[in-house]
Structure formats: structure tokens, C-alpha cells
């Protein structure tokens, strides 16, 4: 009971402080082996989508991200899908991406170090919006129907910020 009380009281005292932190840098290669760094997108709003081929909710969310990318890329949005699949599953990624008709870059993180840098629990899907200044402005774990509305609102707010 003491444990439960402490855990519940903790919820009120700990701020959700991912927002405002600098986004950890990374260098990852895409499905064509081209390197991408987070730094090269400085000045744009970047939506990082951590996903995996075995993650059902990730696959449901992807068409919504593609629509967001299509609509908002002209306003400065970059979407980077970062696969949390282990090295052994990498051959399955491109057929899945092709089947979904995704056009935003898919990056490979076979050693899962970038995934862990943002999300030690490795909950999937995991969405991180990085502002134009390189700081994290929004984080969302998991996907339920309708979550894409709140995510889009966060992205549009970041795009509207100076």
C-alpha cells in the first residue's frame, strides 16, 4: 500500500520533461544505404517515427504519417521512419514499405542504439517531434485510433513556431 501511495503521488510531482531536451544526434543509413544525420535537418521540423515490422499498431499508424508527410512537407516537415527491427529482419523492411506506399525516408537502426537513446523502454510505435532548433517538442508512445489527430496538431504547432 505504501508503494502504491508513493507511485500515485509521484505522478503529480514529475513533469513530462522530454519536451525541451535536445534531440540526441544520430547517423543512420536508409534503405538505399544513404547516410542521414539529424543535424542535416536542422531548421526543419522533424517527426521521428520509431516502428518495427512486427508491431501491429505501427503498421496502422503509418498511412496517417504518410498523409501528414504529403500534406505538410511543403511547409517544412521531414518525416523519418526509424526501424527498430534487428539486423536479422532487415530484408523484410523494404517490401513492407513498398506495400504501404511510403515515400518518406526509412532509416535502419539494427543495433537499436538510436531507438534506445530516445526511448529506453522501446515502446513501439514511438513518435518524437523535433523543433526547428533541434529540441524535442512532443513525444507520444503507442498508437490508438485518433492519436494521429493530436500528433498532427503538435506538428503543426511546431511548424508555426518561430
Amino acid at each position: 500500500m505504501r508503494f502504491l501511495f508513493l507511485a500515485l503521488s509521484l505522478l503529480g510531482s514529475v513533469p513530462y520533461a522530454h519536451a525541451g531536451s535536445p534531440a540526441p544526434g544520430f547517423t543512420l543509413r536508409d534503405l538505399s544505404n544513404r547516410p542521414h544525420t539529424l543535424e542535416q535537418y536542422r531548421g526543419k521540423v522533424v517527426l521521428l517515427d520509431f516502428w518495427a515490422t512486427f508491431c501491429g499498431p505501427c503498421l496502422i499508424e503509418m498511412p496517417h504519417l504518410q498523409k501528414m508527410y504529403t500534406d505538410l512537407a511543403p511547409k517544412g516537415l521531414v518525416v523519418l521512419g526509424i526501424s527498430a527491427d534487428a539486423a536479422r529482419d532487415q530484408s523484410r523492411i523494404k517490401p513492407l514499405v513498398a506495400g504501404k506506399g511510403l515515400t518518406y525516408p526509412i532509416l535502419l537502426d539494427p543495433q537499436t542504439t538510436t531507438v534506445a537513446a530516445y526511448n529506453p523502454s522501446k515502446t513501439l510505435p514511438y513518435s518524437v517531434v523535433v523543433g526547428r532548433d533541434g529540441s524535442i517538442v512532443h513525444v507520444h508512445a503507442g498508437y490508438n485510433p485518433g492519436d494521429e489527430v493530436a500528433l498532427r496538431a503538435a506538428v503543426e504547432a511546431a511548424l508555426a513556431a518561430p
Binding site: L6, R29, S91
Partner: protein, 565 residues
């Protein structure tokens, strides 16, 4: 208990230090974006599970059952300080069992010995450890890491130490790691000692496994271009003794491998890897082995075609001394959601060749699409040792089919198939000797009204044995999950399991073979999740990421908290 209170108190004080910052709500993020660019940040994740575990386990060959009745509390605390160039990270793990001890005739007795004699815990039923620690610097091209880091080479056949969240496996390499990312060349060098995670988060901790400390060194170079060529080498010293000969005796295992990666070559993505294994351990019955994997992907029109082949001989001996995890795990080409005690042997076979062909199609676009697939996997498993039940080599056929249907917020995912493990030879009465399995799983989610949605996920397996070294009974596994989600904050789940598999050592709470449970999930603020579970689920073997683990059943109550701060 005091350990967990201390951790929570520290966490609470960290939060109090930031009390001047308003708690973020959806829509607050633009305020953060308007601030000056930050130079560093401190954040963490705290996972807590408190389980009241009433284990009613079936003992092999006895009518009696073993009954355990105690509370288990588990903490995983990740802390990370990072700037755009530096990251320092630690993870502390703690587990303790309450109401697990009694005094009998003046002697303190632990009912359940969580911490074996070879490990040092505060008590026999409490364990506390700084599980992971690392310091990383990321330069423009060079990344240096001291401490714990995950590493894999190629497709994982030679080295694959990564976190496997599905299986509660998290083995890192504790040592030094250097990566050079050039325009056309990537180089990685690692040396360290394997550091497996002791404390399971999602599954009951029965008896902790000590660190086994295999020394691993490896280097991989990959040159990118139209065709990317890679080469790697790995050396392993198993269980090095604390004597001088640890540095002078031959390595227990050496692996050398090469990869070819040609994405989009004439419209086809081609990948191939070959590795050779050399052993110098008395307990390993061979001197060398090999493993190979290749894949080809093509995209004609609305279809996606993926062909994969794998072959391995005596490659699994690399994992012989790694208890509870694997040093290397390449593609298995199996549908791992339906691995049974029988087919787990093929996943970790020391003599197997096989392949899988999968064709996916797509009709429709974006949020309104129909995505069916057909797949056929075939293997020739010649290994009779290890986990194998069969007395002769097997030819395995496993066709599967399925579809994903998207219609706005409605989503359905279906997978089904049949598997036959055909023995080379007839049964004693001249019949077809084969293990057979049929399986089906479905995941259906759709909105009901407003922000309320429903998810239903039933699955079924029916398994029939052929003639085995030790005969077991045929069995049926059924499970179902019904989840009602009330917007982004609340969800209620109901779980049902049924299994009459003689090989599992748990009994149901609703009947000998029937298990039931309820769970409520609450997300009070973004980044914080509370889950309350009550009921039972069955024991059984689970496989994911090429790794299989026999997990205990559970009956009782579980409170889980995950917080990001």
C-alpha cells in the same frame, strides 16, 4: 521494500527540482519550441511492476502441485543526460520478494530462493544492481562509447547482442566501442564482456541468472556504393578464468564473415552473407561450422516478392555457453508467433537448410487498402541433438497466408497456416510420421462511438505429434484478447487462455486448462502509464527475434507503472 522506496523518493526529488516548470499538456509543446535552443537535457524512464504472485504449478511426474504465494516488486530505472554530442546513461534494476520467508525452529528460511549463492544480493530474495552504464561521444564521423552498448554485424549470424523487448532479454557488451561513419565507409570495432540483464520486467523472476562474462571482440568494415561490401571478424573467449592463461589460451570461438548488399540492382534488392566458425573448446564436438543467408526482393506492379534462403551447420555452438540469451541470432525464416516446444528445435538447429518465399499484394491506397500475402517456408532439418524430439531428420513445410485490411480507423490483420514436420521414415505401423499444426490469429480493431474503440485478438493452434523419443499428447492452444479503449487515457482488457499441452507447467484459474484475466490501463498524463492486472495466464515457450524462452505462468495481481520524466 526499502530499495524501491529509495528509488521512488529519489525520483520524486528529481521532479521537485523542476517544480517551477509547468506540467506539459497536449498543445504546450510550442512553448518549448519558442525557448532558446537547449544545450543538454536529463530524462529518464521508470518502470515498476508489483506482482502478487500465487503460483499453482504442476510438478512433473507428481500429482502434487507447488504453491507459491508472495509479492514481487521490480524496478527498472533508466537515466540519461544528453547533449547533441554527449550521452551519459545508467540503468539500475532492483527486484525483491516480500512475504517469501519464515522462521522455522529458529532458522530463517526463504521459501523461494531468487538470488543464487553465486550472486551477491542484500538478501536471498532481494537483488539490486547498476545493470547498465555508458558514456558516448558523437563526433561528425566518429562515435566512441565506453560501457554498455548493443552490437550486431551483418544479419546477426556472427554477432547479435541487441535488446529483445518481446522476450525480456537485454544483453549488452560492456567495454569499448568505436564507430566511424564516412561517406562511403563505415567501420565498427568493439571489445568487452557480455552483460546480460538479470531482472525480468514483464515476466515473473523465478531464479536470477548470474553474469556469465564471455569476452567478445569484433570488427566490421563496410564499403558503400552501388554495391555495398562488408567483412567482419569476431573472437569469443568463453567464461575466461581469472588466471593468466585467459590471455594466452586460444579463443574459444572465432567467426569470419562477409556480406554483399545491392539495393535496387536491376530493380531487385539483393543481400547475401556467409560466415565461418572455428571452435577451440573441448566441450564443443566440432572444430568448425558455417552459416549463410541470402535474400532477394522485387516489386513488380502491385506486388512485393521476397525470397530468402538460410543454411547453417554447427553455427549454433557459438551460443552454447550463453545462458538465457544468444551471442548470435540470424534470420530463422519461421513464423515465430506459433513456435512450439517441437519447432523451437528448428529455430536453433545445428544442421539445417531452407528457404521462404513470400508474395504480398496491395489494392487501394493509404488509409483504405487491402494487403494480402501468401508465403511458403520449407526446411530440411538434419539435427537430432539439442531440443529435438524427433528420431530422424525432418522435412518441414509451412505455408501461411493472411491479409491486412485498412478502412479508415478500422483495421484487421489475419494470419493462418499449416505446418508439417515430416520425418524421414514411417511410423512403427507403417504410417506417415509427422508432427502437424494448424494455426490462425486475427487482430481486429474498430471505433464504436466517439473516442471509444474495440480491439479483438483471438488465436488458435492445434498440434498433433508424430512418433517421438518421448511421446506427448496432442494439444490445443487458444487465446483471446478483448480491449476496449476509451480515448487516449483509459483502456480495459480481458484475456482468455486455454491449453491442454502436457508440456507446460501451469494450471488455470478458471479450470485445469482455462485461464482468465482482466487488466485496466490509465494514462493520467502523457508519458505516464498505470496498469492493473488480475487473473492468470499460462506458461509456455515463446520465440521472438530468433530467441526462444520458456516463460512461467502467472496467477495473481500485478500493478505496473511506466513513467517518462
Amino acid at each position: 521494500m526499502s530499495i524501491h522506496v529509495l528509488v521512488l523518493a529519489l525520483l520524486a526529488s528529481a521532479g521537485a527540482g523542476r517544480a517551477e516548470e509547468p506540467a506539459a499538456r497536449p498543445g504546450d509543446e510550442s512553448v518549448a519550441a519558442a525557448r532558446p535552443p537547449p544545450t543538454w537535457g536529463l530524462h529518464g524512464t521508470h518502470d515498476v511492476r508489483a506482482r502478487y504472485w500465487m503460483l499453482d504449478a504442476r510438478l512433473p511426474n507428481f500429482e502434487d502441485r507447488r504453491i507459491l504465494d508472495y509479492v514481487e516488486i521490480v524496478d527498472h530505472l533508466d537515466l540519461k543526460a544528453s547533449s547533441d554530442r554527449w550521452t551519459a546513461a545508467i540503468r539500475g534494476d532492483a527486484v525483491s520478494l516480500l512475504a517469501n520467508r519464515y522462521v522455522l525452529d529458529g532458522v530463517l528460511t526463504y521459501e523461494h530462493e531468487l538470488v543464487p549463492d553465486t550472486m551477491r544480493g542484500p538478501t536471498a530474495d532481494t537483488w539490486l544492481a547498476l545493470e547498465k552504464a555508458s558514456l558516448e561521444h558523437r563526433g561528425q564521423h566518429l562515435t566512441l562509447t565506453m560501457g554498455d552498448r548493443w552490437v550486431s554485424f551483418g544479419r546477426g549470424l556472427a554477432l547479435n547482442l541487441v535488446k529483445n523487448t518481446d522476450m525480456d532479454i537485454d544483453t549488452s557488451l560492456r567495454g569499448g566501442h568505436a564507430s566511424w561513419h564516412g561517406t562511403s565507409v563505415d567501420t565498427t570495432a568493439v571489445v568487452g564482456v557480455t552483460n546480460p540483464q538479470q531482472v525480468l520486467l514483464e515476466n515473473p523472476n523465478v531464479r536470477l541468472l548470474p553474469d556469465d562474462g564471455h569476452v567478445v571482440a569484433g570488427v566490421r568494415v563496410e564499403r558503400f556504393g552501388r554495391v555495398a561490401l562488408g567483412a567482419h571478424a569476431v573472437g569469443v573467449q568463453f567464461h575466461p578464468p581469472n588466471t593468466a592463461d585467459a590471455w594466452t589460451r586460444p579463443l574459444g570461438a572465432r567467426v569470419a564473415g562477409a556480406t554483399v548488399d545491392a539495393p535496387g540492382l536491376a530493380g531487385i534488392d539483393v543481400f547475401a552473407e556467409v560466415d565461418t566458425f572455428f571452435y577451440d573448446e573441448d566441450a564443443i564436438p566440432v572444430d568448425r561450422g558455417w552459416a549463410a543467408y541470402a535474400s532477394a526482393g522485387a516489386y513488380p506492379g502491385r506486388f512485393q516478392v521476397l525470397a530468402e534462403v538460410r543454411a547453417a551447420h554447427a553455427a549454433e555452438y557459438l551460443n552454447a555457453y550463453a545462458v538465457g540469451y544468444e551471442l548470435a541470432a540470424g534470420p530463422t525464416l519461421e513464423y515465430e508467433r506459433v513456435i512450439t516446444e517441437d519447432s523451437a528445435a528448428a529455430v536453433n538447429s545445428n544442421d539445417i537448410v531452407g528457404g521462404r518465399l513470400r508474395v504480398d499484394g496491395r489494392w487501394g491506397e493509404g488509409e483504405h487498402a487491402f494487403l494480402p500475402y501468401l508465403a511458403l517456408a520449407a526446411f530440411h532439418d538434419r539435427d537430432l541433438g539439442g531440443l529435438h524430439f524427433n528420431r530422424s531428420p525432418e522435412r518441414i513445410l509451412h505455408p501461411t497466408f493472411g491479409a491486412q485490411i485498412l478502412r479508415g480507423e478500422t483495421h484487421a490483420l489475419l494470419n493462418a497456416g499449416v505446418r508439417a514436420d515430416l520425418r524421414e521414415g514411417a511410423t512403427s505401423d507403417g504410417g506417415l510420421d509427422a508432427d502437424r499444426m494448424a494455426h490462425l490469429d486475427l487482430d481486429l480493431s474498430f471505433p464504436i462511438a466517439g473516442a471509444v474503440s474495440l480491439e479483438i485478438a483471438p488465436s488458435a493452434q492445434a498440434f498433433g505429434w508424430g512418433e517421438n523419443l518421448q511421446q506427448q499428447g496432442d494439444f490445443v492452444n487458444l487465446s483471446n484478447t478483448v480491449a476496449v479503449k476509451f480515448g487516449p487515457r483509459w483502456a480495459l482488457m480481458a484475456y482468455n487462455d486455454y491449453s491442454d499441452n502436457d508440456l507446460i507447467r501451469s494450471t488455470g484459474n478458471l479450470g485445469e486448462h482455462l485461464y482468465g484475466a482482466l487488466e485496466a490501463q490509465w494514462i493520467p498524463t502523457p508519458g505516464h502509464t498505470l496498469k492493473l492486472f488480475g487473473g492468470a495466464y499460462r506458461a509456455g515457450i515463446r520465440c521472438a527475434g530468433g530467441q526462444c524462452r520458456s516463460l512461467p505462468g502467472f496467477e495473481g495481481v500485478r500493478l505496473g507503472y511506466t513513467g517518462n520524466f
